[in-house]
């Protein structure tokens, strides 16, 4: 079992690392995470700053930023960005509200308000942000050469 898991990690790591370095990829995808801190200024006013996540504890608000850019020479169509949510993070919304989400590991998708969670007693309840496992953006317009943008979502460390 242990070696099987290890092998899986190896395969996964290989896949991720491999894909990033794919030389011919005309699309750049960059992921960043920041911690939101509420800071009280000298004059007593409060402000929110984004910090590098040097210190993160349960309850902290994280801001995930995914930047994309078409660095190739041709248009990319049907552009879809998917972000599996780390298991220790509870989803806390996106900045644009245009996402669809999955609450079952990416098997099915929908807007959060339309999804329901099956309960042990056979009933179901509306899905909540804490049920979200994956976030996905279907960007409808084609991404022309040189075009780019960023997608922002927030999470809370469980």
């Amino acid at each position: 079992m242990k070696s099987l898991i290890k092998a899986c990690f190896a395969i996964a790591a290989t896949l991720f690392a491999g894909a990033t370095a794919f030389a011919a990829t005309p699309l750049e995808l960059k992921s960043d995470v920041f911690v939101e801190r509420h800071v009280v200024r000298g004059d007593g006013s409060k402000t929110v700053v984004l910090e590098k996540p040097n210190m993160v504890t349960p309850g902290d608000n994280l801001v995930f930023i995914v930047r994309y850019k078409n660095v190739g020479g041709s248009t990319a169509s049907n552009f879809v960005v998917t972000n599996p949510l780390p298991s220790a993070v509870a989803f806390n919304g996106t900045s644009d509200g245009l996402e669809i989400v999955s609450i079952n590991g990416g098997k099915s998708w929908g807007i959060l308000g339309s999804l329901r969670v099956a309960m042990a007693d056979g009933t179901s309840r509306p899905a909540m942000q804490t049920d979200v496992t994956h976030i996905k953006w279907n960007l409808n317009q084609p991404l022309t050469a040189g075009a780019g943008g960023k997608l922002i979502f927030r999470g809370i460390v469980k």
Binding site: C8, A12, T14, S31, V33, M55, T57, P58, A76, N78
Partner: protein, 339 residues
């Protein structure tokens, strides 16, 4: 860096056929090992890794790209609560030894943590200060103080290590001074402080967290205290003696031949109960005890020192009234004759 990752890229391409089933297997394993969410939060040392992926169509077919992984480690949050778990004041008595007060220490942080315990029996704002005997850890975890079984706490030697979201029960053992009176209360505090560090929330200790991250003081300041209370329940007795004389002529003069009925009422006041109340009264000089006249609560008792509560030994009467709760009265009577 670039070279080595393109090596990996090449390898991944050669493995492509095996990747999809491999990934599916990994995903299912991942779910099997997902830990349930806990109140204290994600365990310290847990890695949060975020990778985004994108797919799009190109003239030469669909393409998938992965973002760089972002890895952050969850640091240890130092939090603790202490709560007295006695249902109310614990009863004690003047001079009582081995009062047991019970407290629960809960690690509300997200890392396993050792705590230093300090008991304080000398608090202000109460009526007396009991003498601190020891702090005892509920090592057999049954919630009850078992002398000789549960381990005596020695600071720095057996500081209890508490897993996140778990609690340990601790007993503070005290003695009550002799001079206290009914109704006196004593405040006995127990403080638990995280060994990694404590202070204002946000204080951090680099590299000191479980799992290799930092340790950060949480909202509790990584130190907490609560008070348990002792309440003295002391019963006191007051004796009221009265006499009724019946002379041979039907009057109430103390003349020879008159019979005096003595009545002694023992009133128990305070709280709790008086144990083994014994009422003794010598026969007054110049009078003769009337045989077989002792009563307790209007019930006749024999003069012999036997199973019943009363006896007369030639010079005094004695009645053992047993345990008497506060608020009750025991009345004995006996008769003497003036010769």
């Amino acid at each position: 860096m670039r070279t080595s990752s393109s090596n990996i890229a090449r390898r991944s391409r050669t493995l492509f056929g095996a990747q999809l089933p491999g990934m599916a297997l990994c995903a299912s394993l991942g779910f099997a090992f997902t830990q349930p969410a806990m109140a204290a939060g994600t365990l310290a040392g847990t890695d949060i890794e975020n990778i985004a992926s994108a797919t799009y169509d190109t003239p030469s077919g669909p393409v998938t790209v992965q973002s760089n992984p972002v890895l952050i480690k969850v640091d240890e949050l130092l939090n603790v609560t202490v709560a007295s778990t006695d249902p109310g004041d614990v009863a004690t008595a003047p001079g009582a030894t081995g009062n047991v007060l019970t407290y629960r220490i809960t690690n509300t942080g997200n890392g396993s943590e050792a705590f230093t315990l300090i008991a304080n029996a000398a608090n202000g704002g109460d009526d007396f200060d009991p003498t601190l005997q020891q702090i005892v850890l509920d090592t057999n975890n049954n919630g009850v103080y078992d002398p000789g079984v549960d381990t005596v706490y020695v600071a720095g030697t057996n500081d209890p290590v508490v897993a996140p979201d778990q609690s340990v029960t601790t007993f503070v053992i005290t003695n009550t001074p002799v001079g206290v009176v009914d109704g006196n209360r004593a405040d006995v505090g127990l403080t638990a402080t995280a060994n990694t560090g404590s202070g204002p929330p946000g204080t951090s200790f680099a590299g000191a967290g479980q799992g290799g991250g930092d340790a950060v003081v949480g909202a509790t300041g990584a130190s907490a205290a609560d008070s348990g209370f002792l309440s003295v329940q002391a019963a006191m007795v007051t004796l009221v003696k009265s006499a009724a004389i019946l002379d041979p002529f039907g009057g109430s003069r103390p003349v020879p031949g008159a019979v005096i009925t003595y009545s002694i009422a023992a009133n128990v006041t305070g709280s709790g109960s008086l144990t083994n109340l014994v009422i003794t009264d010598p026969i007054p000089v110049g009078s003769q005890y009337e045989i077989g006249t002792i009563t307790l609560q209007a019930t006749a008792l024999t003069d012999a020192a036997d199973a019943d509560a009363g006896d007369y030994n030639g010079t005094r009467v004695r009645v053992a009234a047993g345990n008497v709760p506060a608020g009750q009265t025991r009345t004995i009577t006996f008769k003497v004759k003036i010769p």
